[in-house]
């Protein structure tokens, strides 16, 4: 049987259908490698010049003495390096890298979930008022209560994001027999506008807090350390796990409500859990890095162009891609005006927008 058997011939189309597989693996692999390299760059590059070997020694030392309860100067003395070097790496660069990574991943996934929930490929936490809700709550906390502790920021941001997401969803769906993307989008834009309007009213009538608020809103990571990262990290993780667990039901939901119900998916519960996951992700990302727009729109689209609409594949890649962009933006933000800094929100917009424009020109814009 050396010739091609007629029985095996029909298999060929199946092999061809698996064509995108290498592309998917290559893309994921490249993104992973890029992420590792960028994280390294993020740890080794900064306004303070620390020799790379010293950075490595400090990193190993801080990891091995993680639970020792010693302060940075004590460890620096024990290791025999300059205290400021130790502190720059462990208390500034490490938390920043973690913040950029987790905020990026959270935003990318939040955008993907939002696009499924609203069935609108243009949905994004920034456009649909979720970031505005979180920012509003944080501004309230800064201006009215005069509190600026990171834990209060995280709590306020989560509360604001939850209220905004829920309000958008309820207003967009109540009274409508079927959920139309247009109603949801309008509800989101309207609520986002109201909250952003009040936020900017607060900002403009409080000259003293004006620059603090502006720098927070532009996503400035230079002032954020472990005390910002630690309270938000568990929330990001919870959101990511919830999102991944929802990938299957989301695929069902994408087929339409009736089809999803007949496939045995609990539509109502899935939607509520989606709202919850979006809240956790967008809220914690805003608390971590400020209201970063745009990543949530871009990452899911790019991921969809690479792996297609299957959420089990799309969500991890969206998380990976948007983490890559965020860490890259943070590294560039530190280098481009060295030794000064540019807020990471600005860099991520300037980086992400051209990519999206090129992609949307190259291909037919993808629906869901």
């Amino acid at each position: 049987m050396t010739g091609r058997s007629p029985l095996t011939a029909p298999r060929r189309p199946r092999i061809r259908r698996a064509g995108p597989r290498p592309r998917r693996l290559v893309a994921t692999g490249l993104a992973l490698v890029a992420l590792v390299l960028l994280c390294a760059a993020s740890l080794y590059v900064g306004s303070r010049l620390v020799p790379p070997t010293t950075v490595s020694r400090i990193l190993i030392d801080s990891l091995t003495h993680l639970g020792s309860g010693q302060s940075s100067p004590e460890r620096a003395r024990a290791l025999g390096v300059i205290a400021q070097d130790y502190s720059a790496v462990v208390d500034l660069r490490l938390p920043r890298t973690v913040i950029a990574l987790s905020a990026g991943a959270a935003l990318g996934v939040a955008g993907a979930l939002m696009q499924v929930l609203t069935r609108n490929p243009l949905a994004e936490p920034g456009i649909l008022g979720v970031n505005a809700g979180a920012a509003f709550a944080i501004v309230l906390v800064i201006v009215l209560l005069g509190v600026s502790s990171p834990v209060a920021f995280v709590a306020a941001s989560l509360a604001g994001a939850f209220v905004a997401t829920l309000a958008v969803f309820l207003i967009g769906t109540l009274g409508a027999g079927v959920i139309t993307p247009e109603r949801l989008t309008l509800a989101g834009v309207a609520i986002g506008a109201v909250l952003a309007g009040i936020t900017s009213a607060f900002r403009l009538s409080n000259p003293r807090e004006y620059s603090i608020l502006l720098s927070w809103e532009s996503g400035d990571l230079s002032q954020r350390g472990w005390e910002t990262a630690l309270p938000a990290l568990p929330v990001v993780l919870a959101g990511l796990v919830l999102a991944l667990a929802l990938a299957g039901p989301m695929n069902a939901l994408l087929l339409g409500e009736d089809m999803a119900a007949s496939l045995g998916a609990n539509v109502r519960r899935t939607r509520f859990l989606l709202v919850l996951a979006i809240t956790l992700l967008a809220g914690s990302a805003t608390a971590l890095a400020g209201p970063i727009v745009f990543l949530g729109l871009m990452a899911p689209h790019v991921a969809r162009w690479i792996v297609g609409p299957d959420q089990t594949r799309l969500l991890p890649l969206a998380a990976l891609l948007s983490a890559v962009i965020m860490v890259l933006a943070d590294v560039i933000a530190r280098v481009v005006m060295w030794p000064g800094e540019v807020p990471v929100g600005i860099v991520s917009a300037l980086l992400g927008a051209p990519v999206l424009i090129v992609l949307v020109r190259r291909r037919r814009a993808s629906g869901l």
Binding site: G175, L204, L214, P354
Partner: protein
């Protein structure tokens, strides 16, 4: 057949009623704006002042209050009209000039000219610096968005994605410039950046009014073509419309409307997005009604400007108030069917979205 005709007539009647009511509200708001202030006037006094024989009262009304009140009406209508055209052409409420970054672009133009360019450049233009910056920035960014979104014609969705991307980039640039600038300068620039009518006088207003008098009739001439395009590109092409060229012309006119307004008042956000949607829900038609949108825009901006002048304790730019008022109103209209269903306790009402 006759039932269909009745429905069309009813819709037309409704549209006329909505426009009339909105027009009356605008008139009342304008009269209030003209008579209220540090020097309050009664209605007879106001009417006398308007004829120019009221002495000091005439000066106050005609020189100080009228430009601002008129600007609120005209600018609101112009922004809403532009928004209605964009939303019709992109078939999406997000396809509004304010989402697509044209006002952000105008703001970038102004910031570049006033904060970044050497003082000599701004000094050369004098008081016209903001106007020139806004016009160049607004029309320039619209042109870039159009060119980038173009590929075998402009598809609505692609236009919006490119617009949002441009808007994000320009916004990043704006924030960066503001962060570099001194606090006081930045604060003043961002007052303008939120949109304000408080800096207006006749000298600034007249050129824009003349521009609008030219552009609006041209737009009205384009309405039948716009309605053809609304049916879809293919249908319009079959009916003999040169789709791409027509669309380009109408978009250019709509952009000129926004840029002219932004040049004077700063980017007043959200009127262009919300007014057409509000009008559409009030008229209950299928498409976006242009006349009702314009009237709604006039009501929104006049009302918001009244609130900034007389209700709020601190001076805030009118753009901030428009956003809040327009947003709340839109939320209310979106909620209306749900509340109706709750009240009647019956099934959900018909959704007009």
């Amino acid at each position: 057949m006759s039932a269909a005709r009745t429905a069309v007539t009813a819709r037309r009647t409704r549209s006329v009623v909505v426009c009339t009511v909105l027009g009356l509200i605008t008139l009342v708001l304008t009269l209030i704006a003209l008579s209220r202030g540090d020097f309050p006037l009664t209605l007879p006094e106001l009417l006398e002042a308007l004829t120019g024989r009221g002495g000091f009262a005439s000066t106050i009304v005609l020189e100080w209050r009228l430009p601002r009140a008129l600007a609120a009406v005209v600018f609101g209508a112009a922004l809403a009209l532009s928004g209605a055209i964009f939303q019709t052409l992109t078939r999406n409420p997000l396809g509004s000039p304010d989402v697509l970054g044209f006002s952000t672009g105008a703001y970038t133009g102004v910031l570049l000219l006033t904060l970044v360019a050497p003082p000599a450049a701004a000094g050369l233009l004098g008081g016209a610096a903001t106007t020139v910056g806004a016009l160049v920035g607004g029309i320039g960014s619209a042109l870039i968005v159009y060119l980038l979104a173009r590929r075998d014609g402009v598809q609505g969705f692609r236009l919006i994605v490119v617009g949002i991307a441009m808007s994000a980039m320009l916004n990043a640039v704006n924030v960066w410039i503001l962060l570099q600038a001194q606090d006081e300068v930045a604060m003043a620039a961002s007052m303008w950046g939120a949109g304000t009518l408080s800096l207006l006088d006749w000298a600034g207003l007249v050129p824009v009014l003349i521009l609008l008098v030219v552009v609006v009739p041209l737009l009205i001439l384009c309405v039948p073509l716009l309605r053809q395009l609304e049916l879809g590109d293919d249908v319009a092409a079959v009916h003999g419309v040169a789709v791409e060229r027509t669309r380009r012309r109408i978009l250019l006119l709509a952009v000129v409307l926004v840029a002219a307004v932004t040049a004077l008042s700063g980017p007043i956000a959200f009127v262009a997005l919300s007014a057409p949607q509000l009008a559409k829900r009030l008229v209950r038609g299928t498409g976006i009604p242009l006349a009702a949108s314009a009237a709604m825009g006039a009501v929104l901006l006049s009302g918001a400007d009244l609130v900034t002048q007389h209700v709020l304790p601190t001076a805030l730019p009118v753009g901030v108030v428009t956003i809040v008022l327009g947003g709340l109103y839109l939320v209310g209209l979106l909620l209306a069917p749900a509340l109706q269903a709750l009240r009647t306790g019956g099934r959900y009402g018909q959704d007009h979205a």
